[in-house]
């Protein structure tokens, strides 16, 4: 046990690779001495450099030069972007969407997973929950319209119930519709990840807690939740990754200029692109990149701390 702890501290968990359970495994890997890894990695690395890294450096350059004048203009582009009302709106909406939907998805899926973990016939339920992942957005566009239109099915039901209708796509309710479609699409994937985490907690641990007199609530708080922290990391990363994809729904259902409440950064980039405002895109690209890198490294730091305590 002590040696495991030591290894952990010496080399904080490499993402995903199991350093703590099998510390000897890492040492057995081929050492730097021979360069045999190069042919394996090179094609991918070359492609990534060519298609992402080098062009990104170019964006960085562009962000401080005028597109047409070609002259160095310092922070002018950044200033223009920050002063732009559409940019502020888009940043606000995107941040709000992430701040609301990410925790919502994570909590909802955890609750579902906890319920599922106590049932027996979970296979079928799991498959049904995962299925929306396979459904192409374009195939569902007309169903969303049919459901959420001013004269759509849901408004029909609301009308029957005497509640009164809602302009789902042309009011602040659009935000809720987008959030719902994000959760609809990603719930199954997240539930599956949580379930994996729950199943990997050994039964003897929960049983020991039960013997010590912990109720099922106590077991949940003291045994299950603390042991789910590693899973929580992957789940946050994957949910974050997928949160950008809601643009597809928003764009295909509501077009390039949806209601103000769901005007996301992705819309803005697209519209700037259509108008060829490249220097604005370049500056905004750099800023978005900086924010995402900061968020990821923050998450990473929290994660490493957890792993070493």
């Amino acid at each position: 046990m002590i040696s495991v702890e030591k290894t952990k501290k010496l080399s904080p968990a490499v993402w995903g690779c199991n350093t703590s359970v099998l510390p000897q495994e890492k040492r057995k890997k081929r050492k730097t001495g021979d360069k045999k890894y190069i042919p394996f990695l090179l094609p991918s690395l070359a492609g990534v450099c060519l298609f992402v890294a080098v062009p990104f450096a170019d964006s960085l350059r562009r962000s401080v030069f005028g597109t047409f004048s070609g002259r160095f203009c310092g922070a002018d582009n950044y200033k223009a972007v920050l002063d732009n009302a559409a940019f502020r709106l888009a940043v606000k909406n995107t941040a709000l969407f992430t701040a609301v939907c990410l925790p919502l998805l994570i909590v909802l899926s955890l609750m579902t997973a906890l319920i599922l973990s106590r049932l027996k016939a979970v296979r079928a339920i799991r498959s049904v929950l995962l299925f929306p992942l396979a459904v192409p957005t374009a195939a569902m566009v007309l169903i969303w319209r049919l459901l959420f239109d001013d004269h759509g099915m849901i408004n029909g039901m609301l009308d029957d119930a005497g509640i009164g209708t809602v302009h789902f796509l042309d009011s602040k309710a659009a935000f809720a519709v987008l959030a719902a479609s994000y959760i609809w699409k990603n719930l199954g994937y997240t539930v599956l990840l949580w379930l994996t985490g729950i199943m990997s907690i050994s039964e003897s641990l929960s049983e020991a807690a039960a013997v010590d007199g912990a109720g099922s609530f106590g077991t949940l708080i003291y045994i299950i939740l603390p042991n789910l922290r590693p899973a929580a990391y992957t789940i946050t990363i994957i949910s974050f990754l997928n949160s950008f994809k809601v643009f597809r729904e928003a764009y295909l259902v509501a077009g390039a200029y949806p209601h103000d409440s769901i005007y996301l950064l992705q819309h803005l980039f697209n519209n700037w692109f259509a108008n060829m405002e490249l220097d604005k895109i370049a500056a905004a690209t750099v800023m978005v990149f900086a924010v995402i890198s900061a968020a990821v490294s923050l998450l990473r730091r929290v994660w490493d701390k957890e792993a070493s305590t």
Partner: protein, 279 residues
């Protein structure tokens, strides 16, 4: 007490499943309704009253499907555009990402951690962040408005590397050492041990890659102007007014994705599972 709890649990899960399946069920049902029956669902959208589709087709017909299959040649074009681009991307991802994931998982080298962190970061970047850079590159290389503009950047996606890496990591080192002692070369080890034992991660990456490419919106929207190259996912919304053939076209888009999902489901699940296990 425990029984009551599990009945409650099944109740909640059933309700959840119904809500989740309902939109897809609605699409399937509507695609089998004939023109007059569809009016109940469609006509209120452009007039008065509310859309109240029949939940069971009174006179099921395949009229909508024959309409799209026999009288819409452009549907075939976009269908094969999607299929071709998706296949090309998956094959190249397989060729490029498998060895890269293997290198990260089974070799120890300098900058390995830093490089892998960069890959994870790239994986997390939304398309819009790399859009401008890629557009300029594709423009300079005259690839804009060709299928290669979609295929090449996607081929080097970092996500499959990430997913396969996890499943390669879980292969016991003893096996690989044994193969080395027996004199197997590094590539031989990848093909003989890595591919068979890591196949769940590989299949999961392929299934998720398929679903993502089949659903692509941003890339073709930015890199393709020629509508003849458009994939299904951009063609459907162009059809405009809600109609029987549009519903059938949508269902036709869903079918390949659903098939891939059903066939690949076991590997997909265990691939996702192995991507989550860490400790």
């Amino acid at each position: 007490m425990k029984k009551a709890g599990s009945i409650f649990g099944y109740g909640i899960c059933t309700a959840l499943c119904i809500v989740i399946v309902f939109p897809v069920f609605l699409l399937a049902v509507l695609s089998l309704q004939d023109g007059t029956e569809l009016l109940k669902a469609v006509s209120p959208l452009s007039g008065n009253g509310f859309s109240r589709p029949d939940m069971i087709p009174l006179y099921p017909s395949v009229e909508n499907y024959t309409q799209i299959l026999l009288f819409s040649p452009e549907y075939y074009t976009v269908f094969w555009n999607s299929a071709g681009m998706t296949a090309a991307v998956l094959i190249s991802q397989l060729i490029i990402a498998v060895p890269a994931a293997w290198a990260f998982a089974r070799f120890e080298f300098r900058f390995r951690k830093v490089l892998f962190d960069i890959y994870v970061l790239l994986m997390l970047l939304p398309f819009q962040v790399t859009m401008l850079s890629q557009f300029i590159l594709l423009d300079k290389t005259h690839l804009l408005d060709t299928r290669a503009a979609i295929i090449l950047p996607a081929a080097f996606s970092a996500f499959p590397v990430f997913l396969m890496y996890r499943s390669f990591c879980s292969i016991p080192a003893e096996m690989i050492d044994a193969a080395r002692i027996d004199g197997a070369g590094e590539w031989r080890i990848l093909f003989g041990i890595g591919l068979p034992l890591g196949r769940n991660g590989i299949t999961a990456a392929l299934v998720l890659g398929f679903l993502d490419m089949w659903n692509m919106v941003e890339q073709p929207l930015t890199f393709l102007k020629d509508k003849r190259l458009y994939p299904l996912s951009l063609y459907l919304p162009m059809l405009g007014k809600l109609s029987g053939s549009m519903i059938a076209a949508s269902a036709g888009t869903l079918i390949p994705a659903a098939l891939v999902f059903i066939i690949g489901q076991d590997s997909l699940e265990s691939g996702i599972v192995s991507s989550a296990v860490k400790e």
